[in-house]
């Protein structure tokens, strides 16, 4: 096994501390509102991967992976400007903060352009994840696979903690989603921009936050 594979497995592990376990990325609200149920959970995760992850997170992450210095700071700003909703920007920057805290504690050096963005309050998770995974020695393709898998796994894990899915069933669903993840985790062109268009999961993210277990 290559060193890069071992690293990727560690970084995609659900036990890797980066704060994401406290995010459901809209699933909690979608469940509460009946937009998704036990039976349609895997479809909801697949839709989230095809839309929000593929059109937004993937491109944001690739920029974070590829850029350095001022260009990287600028990319964080661009991604910030492309997030349509204030609560979404705040949650994403808070998740980014946790990843920066993890990197600091692990003594993994984040690019100065990323540190500047975090200090300015726009250290968004998806971009920071790209910076972080490059600093850990992954190639871009593996970094994208790690990100997509983490998103799917995180959503299923939230579903398990919300009591709507079994821990074993969700592993079966995750196995079934692997081909989709492989298909979607393709590096974008350098000039691609994240799509700021509102997506179904984004609408779920905007719901009021009363009585919530997850950050979003």
């Amino acid at each position: 096994m290559s060193l890069a594979t071992i690293r990727a497995m560690q970084l995609a592990d659900s036990g890797f501390p980066s704060g994401v376990f406290a995010y459901s990325w809209g699933l909690e609200s979608a469940l509460a509102e009946g937009q998704v149920c036990k039976r349609s959970l895997a479809d909801w995760v697949a839709l989230d991967l095809r839309t929000r992850w593929h059109r937004f997170d993937r491109i944001a992450l690739a920029g974070g992976f590829r850029l350095t210095g001022e260009a990287l700071s600028g990319w964080f700003e661009t991604v910030d400007a492309l997030m349509p909703v204030e609560t979404q920007r705040r949650d994403s920057a808070q998740a980014g903060d946790a990843l920066f805290a993890s990197a600091r504690a692990l003594r993994i050096a984040m690019d100065p352009g990323a540190l500047a963005a975090q200090a300015a309050g726009v250290g968004h998770f998806a971009v920071a994840h790209g910076v972080f995974l490059r600093a850990c020695g992954l190639d871009l393709g593996t970094a994208l696979e790690t990100s997509a898998l983490s998103l799917a796994r995180g959503a299923f894990s939230a579903a398990v903690r919300l009591g709507v899915a079994g821990a074993i069933t969700t592993q079966r669903d995750l196995l079934a989603l692997a081909p989709l993840i492989a298909e979607l985790a393709i590096a974008p062109d350098a000039q691609d921009l994240p799509s700021g268009a509102m997506l179904l999961p984004d609408v779920a993210l905007m719901r009021p936050r009363q009585g919530r277990l997850f950050i979003n």
């Binding site: 376990f21 406290a22 808070q94 946790a98 993890s102 903690r161 009585g211 950050i215």
Partner: protein, 201 residues
């Protein structure tokens, strides 16, 4: 980062927030610059209660949601709390103390040494005098065990001096302090303990 980070854990309803409310005025009196992070199970109820209490400026109370898993956010993955504490230190230079209240959990919860310098575990008399005998990492490993709601002992058939003695014994002589957070009794001792053991101030 120079502020001492002190965790407060313990079962649901044992009086963690009540302890914070009780010690804040005493800390302020002796000039210890303090902020609080709460890990509520749901939204930010405890944070709101502390803000409304008015003992700290509202921005000195930060809430971190725990994703339905209060022990994960203080143990397996404390990064959200670490990030919140780092932000507090940036926003309030000169901070001496950050209190981190865990969401109510069970006797097995412990704080990650990555997150805190020191932690207390709060249990209450009404939970039963067998709690110390059940041991559990929270009871055994906390730097300080606080047994709260001593006032309820006669009502729940607990021999309080015996409960204190048993707790001290299972902890191998580790610090145990009695309290009635609601009436402020035992609180000066908790603050004196923190100043001596953690704050050096």
């Amino acid at each position: 980062m120079t502020a001492a980070r002190v965790g407060i854990g313990g079962p649901v309803g044992s009086g963690k927030t009540a302890l914070i409310e009780a010690i804040l005025p005493l800390l302020a009196e002796v000039g210890i610059d303090t902020a609080v992070i709460t890990n509520d199970l749901v939204t930010d109820e405890d944070a709101e209660r502390l803000r409304k209490g008015g003992q700290l400026a509202p921005d000195r109370v930060r809430a971190v949601q725990a994703g339905a898993c209060p022990h994960t956010v203080i143990r397996e993955d404390p990064t959200l709390n670490m990030a919140a504490a780092d932000r507090l230190e940036t926003d309030f230079p000169g901070l001496d103390l950050i209190l981190i209240e865990s969401g109510g959990d069970n006797l097995a919860s412990t704080f990650s040494p990555d997150l805190v310098d020191y932690w207390m575990f709060v249990i209450d008399v009404a939970g039963g005098d067998d709690i110390p005998r059940k041991k559990g990492p929270g009871i055994l490993q906390a730097n300080l065990l606080v047994i709260n709601k001593a006032d309820l002992a006669p009502h729940v058939g607990v021999d309080f001096p015996n409960m204190l003695a048993e707790a001290t014994a299972v902890r191998g002589g580790g610090a145990v302090l009695p309290a009635i957070c609601r009436k402020g009794s035992g609180i000066a001792e908790v603050v004196a303990h923190l100043r001596r053991e953690v704050l050096f101030k």
